[in-house]
Amino acid sequence: MVAEGYYHAHEVCLEKCDGRMRCLRACPTGAIRVRDGKARIISELCVDCGDCITACPHSAVVPLADRLDERSPDYVCRIAIPSPVLYSQFPSDTPPRRIREGLKQIGFDHVFDVSRACDWAVLATRIFLREHTGKWPMISSFCPAVVRLIQVKYPELTEHILAMEVPREVTAREAKMKLSKELGIAPEKIEAVYVTACPAKVVSIRQPAEKQKSWLDRAVAISEIYGPLRNAMAHPENGGTAELFEDATYGPGWSRLGGMTSVLGREKWIAVSGTNDVTKILDDIENSRLRDVEFIEASTCLGGCIGGPLTVENIYVARSRTIRLGEKHGGNIERYAGQVESLYRSGFFEMENPLAPRPLSPLDPDIGKAIAKVRKRDEIYESLPKIDCAACGSPSCMALAEDIVKGDADRSQCVVLRAGR
């Protein structure tokens, strides 16, 4: 059963897809099927991690990020909010300021950095954890794919997500307020564009997990603007200079795994990345294990956001640069402590609405029939070779058994059974 109405930021281009099944094997939630030689994504199961985009040898899984040249007449001002990952995509002697100037050269009126909001979020998280009396551990909310994974596959853990507005949203909100006051224009006339390393952020903008509308209006991929940005940066004479929110400290460190927890000032934390490993940690929490852990920093991209599918640079190079950028441009976040304390008390970091679970549909709405289907599925599974070759177009023998029970596949699709006959 495919749930309607879930937006995803990537789709399969049927012309390019030649059914090689790399995506099928890469998908950590088993959301892809290959039928009649073409891949399709089961909307309900997809958490937008983007692993299929990276896996496809023909680029047939296409990210649906916005294009830079699309401009709507509804806006009079366009601002860029780059993911900190962007800074790691250039040679390490490139100062962040130079990259922000480059963004203005390629058509943004202003550039706002998320660094300060990241520093604030660390301090706000500290206050939250200090005063938290509910369930442990709490899980970071900045990776939208982790949030979806929990809503979909671990609905009961939704209350473990630290429900705090994420730095990119805080930055967009602050930027719009500030500009609208300074320029005397309505906030709705300002277009906030996130420069993103992953398609999950695109989804979080078009279909936020917990509110009506994101403060961001669109997202462009780092991989899409990288070329034009590099070209522009080669000609600094055309550059603009005025900067806002320039007093950022911690900045780029946030984008690599462990970056946030390293300055959190708590001892009992875990930093985990990669959907499979995140899943293991979530299983442990669900089993009520990990009782002495307070905070979990989690992202579905291996190594953190710098491992995002819409980046251009090798993740290990990006990681090294991120660490060095942090050493060079980082600062002491403590100077915001007083400010964040009062912002926190005023509700500044609160999400607009609570996050709600989004559980998968059972095999059948009727429990008795669902149990019968589970039995049938197990029976079918026993008759399959159990080698998970995926040649049938389902990701595993168990998934094929389930697809057969759902009426979505046939036992004759098993090539091993066919060969044995």
């Binding site: 669900e286 089993n287 002495d292 059972p362 019968a372 589970v374």
Partner: protein, 146 residues
């Protein structure tokens, strides 16, 4: 094992004592089956926690165990029959903080004496029978009704 004629689903698993690497697998499998059947999430979590704790007990203290998982229209049952040293004093074992675990086991994060009390908290009914030197049988029942 029960001969309840109303059993709609019965699955069997086995657990190997000392196999910490695979500890939690039975609980995770049962949990995903309950999710697919469509039981409410809080109920699934109670079954998962109770099963996990019982599974860990087998891994830490017993040689091996057979696990039977049953679903009837009214209850979800998990029965663990282990072969091992058994429990000498059941009342004592049910007390929070009581444990016979070695320091080595405690260093691994187990053996805090919360296992059986935690199973009891999450189960609607818990039945334990044990014979020293032979083994222990743990019957966990969670009511499936609304």
């Amino acid at each position: 094992m029960s001969d309840d004629p109303e059993i709609m689903l019965r699955e069997r698993f086995s657990i190997q004592g000392g196999d910490f690497g695979r500890a939690g697998r039975v609980s995770t499998t049962i949990k995903s089956m309950l999710k697919q059947i469509g039981f409410p999430a809080p109920l699934i979590r109670r079954v998962a926690i109770a099963t996990y704790e019982a599974e860990i007990n087998v891994v830490v203290y017993a040689d091996r165990a057979d696990v039977t998982f049953e679903v009837t229209p009214t209850v979800i049952r998990v029965i663990l029959e282990d072969e091992g040293r058994g429990i000498a004093d059941l009342d004592l074992a049910m007390q929070e903080g009581y444990s016979t675990a070695t320091d080595e086991i405690r260093e691994m994060g187990f053996g805090a004496g919360m296992g059986l009390p935690n199973i009891k908290r999450n189960a609607d009914d818990l039945e334990i029978t044990s014979e020293v030197g032979v083994g222990t049988t743990v019957r966990i029942t969670v009511l499936a009704g609304e």
